[in-house]
Symmetry: C2
Subunit: 433 residues, 2 copies
């Protein structure tokens, strides 16, 4: 049972929301022009942090894994958005292969894959699931929490196309973030077998710093449209190259960036009279899943790390080594539900917001990262749509808060579009797949 979300929505009126609701026609007009210039990722999810005085995306996922957590009442919205995304492809698009992560023991993840397949099937596309699990020879049938099953079939290569059985898909939808590197089987595919998103969207190539650079540019332009200080929607960040936690190299560079970023945030807190202690989040520039993430309130917090923390920071998912490190302004998590921290995640297909949910977690503080390994959150589906702003209601009324969430998430998705253009190997030979 999903408790009523409005519990999470009490609190002081957000000045930002007031500006966003007032500028809604200008915002939508601005987005329409931007989407004409940039190719939208097929899908995305965006983690937001709402500090009351500030609202910002902190993670943009191009392989979203929580479609099962969305409100089923909004399924038609997802189907309609997927219809638009499919129509942008060749009209001959009829067969999709979805390639999920290899997490066969995470039943909730598998339920996400099943939900995603269901959305694409409702568009009238035939869907099969292909697995990259090494040495998988036979189809694998797995049980789902909802009582259903899904079938994963071994992906095979035939010439420059990938297939499962005799199923020759015209598009391959990756729900696998390629943290372990790009498998050879996906390299050099026929150009008419479309990979969604492209290979360079995977964590083998993607860097958070590229994303937040693109986001910062867009946030400045957007802030001008809305008439706000861009800092209110954009966390400060700095990048530290050549950090080796295990060899204790680059520690001073990191400490300096942490200290400088904290100082910039402190100045903003003074400007706005915010009586809180600034903090930063230190994370790997590549990779995902919250491994290699730590919170720092002073430069000392990243000096003299104990062995355990250093080991944790030194590797991320699938053993990818950390080298570049992102120091990002921490945004307090303001929303809560029965004293549990609640963090919104917004889901998009093409450039349409199709739903979202709160990650509700009781065991963590407001300045910690919720998307961490072993973390058990309770997903709380958004009860309302993000597309129904109501200028007659209070700026923090649920309809308006969800609209604002959707706007910020779309801004992050747009940044991802720009980021993917800026790192397209076809036009940027320095990017190596």
């Amino acid at each position: 049972m999903v408790p009523n979300l409005t519990t999470a929505l009490t609190g002081p009126l957000l000045d930002l929301e007031k500006h966003v609701i007032a500028a809604q026609p200008a915002i939508e007009h601005w987005f329409r022009s931007r989407w004409q210039e940039h190719a939208t990722p097929f899908y995305s999810s965006v983690d937001l942090r709402n500090a009351g005085f500030k609202l910002a995306p902190v993670d943009t996922n191009l392989f979203p894994g929580g479609f099962n957590n969305l409100n089923p009442a909004f399924l038609p919205l997802a189907v309609q958005a997927a219809q638009v995304a499919v129509e942008k492809m060749c009209t001959s698009a009829q067969r999709f292969l979805i390639i999920p992560e290899n997490h066969t023991r995470n039943a909730f993840y598998l339920q996400n894959v099943a939900t995603l397949a269901q959305i694409i099937r409702k568009v009238g596309i035939t869907v099969r699931l292909g697995s990259l699990i090494p040495d998988l020879k036979e189809p694998l049938i797995l049980d789902l929490p909802d009582g259903g099953v899904i079938k994963l079939e071994p992906v095979r290569r035939e010439g420059n196309r990938i297939m499962v059985g005799d199923f020759n898909p015209c598009a391959v939808l990756l729900n696998n973030d390629l943290s372990a590197g790009i498998p050879d089987i996906l390299k050099g595919l026929d150009s008419d077998q479309t990979l969604l998103p492209p290979l360079h969207a995977g964590w083998a190539v993607r860097r958070k710093s590229n994303h937040f650079r693109a986001y910062a540019d867009l946030a400045r332009a957007f802030a001008q449209v809305v008439g706000i200080d861009p800092w209110l929607i954009d966390p400060y960040y700095a990048v530290c190259g050549e950090v080796d936690f295990q060899a204790r190299e680059g520690e001073e560079c990191l400490a300096t960036h942490v200290s400088e970023t904290l100082e910039r945030v402190r100045a903003k807190y003074r400007e706005y009279g915010i009586d809180k202690e600034p903090f930063v989040i230190v994370k790997a520039d590549a990779g995902t899943y919250g491994m290699g993430i730590l919170t720092a309130k002073s430069a000392d917090d990243v000096r003299d790390l104990n062995r355990k923390t250093r080991n944790k920071m030194a590797v991320v998912k699938e053993g990818l080594a950390v080298d570049k490190v992102l120091v990002q302004e921490g945004v307090y998590t303001y929303e809560s539900l029965n004293a549990a921290v609640a963090e919104p995640v917004v889901y998009m297909i093409d450039h349409f917001v199709v739903g979202g949910f709160y990650r509700v977690h009781t065991g963590r503080g407001v300045d910690e990262n919720l998307n961490a390994p072993g973390m058990h959150f309770v997903p709380l589906a958004f009860e309302q749509s993000c597309s129904l702003p109501d200028s007659n209601a209070r700026p923090d009324a649920p309809a308006n808060r969800f609209y604002t969430y959707g706007v910020l998430a779309r801004l992050a998705a747009l940044a991802a579009a720009v980021e993917l253009e800026d790192t397209d190997p076809e036009f940027h030979p320095e990017v190596v797949l």
Copy 2:
């Protein structure tokens, strides 16, 4: 309070639905190709008749007037579809003028206009309402059933643009079917002030026979995709030119067509073992609103009409005279709710089904027209979306029945797209505005 719709959905399994659900991927693929070839009307609504053995559109409205009757839960779907429609226009689209009918005393119609304006506003378009009421000098504020108000402003012409006050819209959304003819103020507008739909979609120019000719062609192609007899989705029809009911001219021509159409239907009923008496609906080829409609079960029913019936048939809405007459196979209304006849109406924005409702009417028979003057129907909003077919459920499960309704409605909207191309005055000089 809206009673549960499933009551209306009991009854024998429809063979047609079975075929439609089985062919869903082929159907969606076929639609995707067709929509690439034809420009979709901005919006439309389609009246369907479900006879159990046969399901067919009988009226395609290009100025839909019941958005207030849709399930509010599906409002986000309408907003998202309108977003797609607006994106197809120039990116500079920011201001819409909606021109409603002059029915200022029909509060439910005004509520429709308010709902429509709300949908467009959620897309981020500034909307004002312009009225064609003759001699309107000042804005007119009217109360709505939901407690709100709407403001109608007199439309004025400035050069080749229309405006209200100093509001210079880039698009004019007609919710006025122009039965009274095309007002001079709308003629010869700047090409960058887009009229949606175009003037020749109005009943001053539009003819039902053009629509059903286009529909019949598409129904044949569609039936081939699905593997069914096109008759199962397409009512027979014939057109009688030069009928003057008041002068009793053309009566024999009409009787002959009625007789021939009934004979064709009778043959089909024999082929399918349908134990019902065929009937036809006789209606004006131009015009709407159910004036000038009669039911005939034999040629005698259109001979020797009494004066009252002849007068009724001789004029349609706004005094437009009947000349050409459409004789259309009648499709029995099979669905009912507590013994009341229930007739589905499906709403589309662009090529997306955004909802629908049943017209539920207690006082009429299964072979009569529900959309008649003075008729008081109870709108019963569709409780489910039309985009969630479920091949694991029975073909007549609500999700599948609504999907099938959506498919047939989209086929009719596609026919309207073809019809508007075939009657575009720019390419067909015989069409005079």
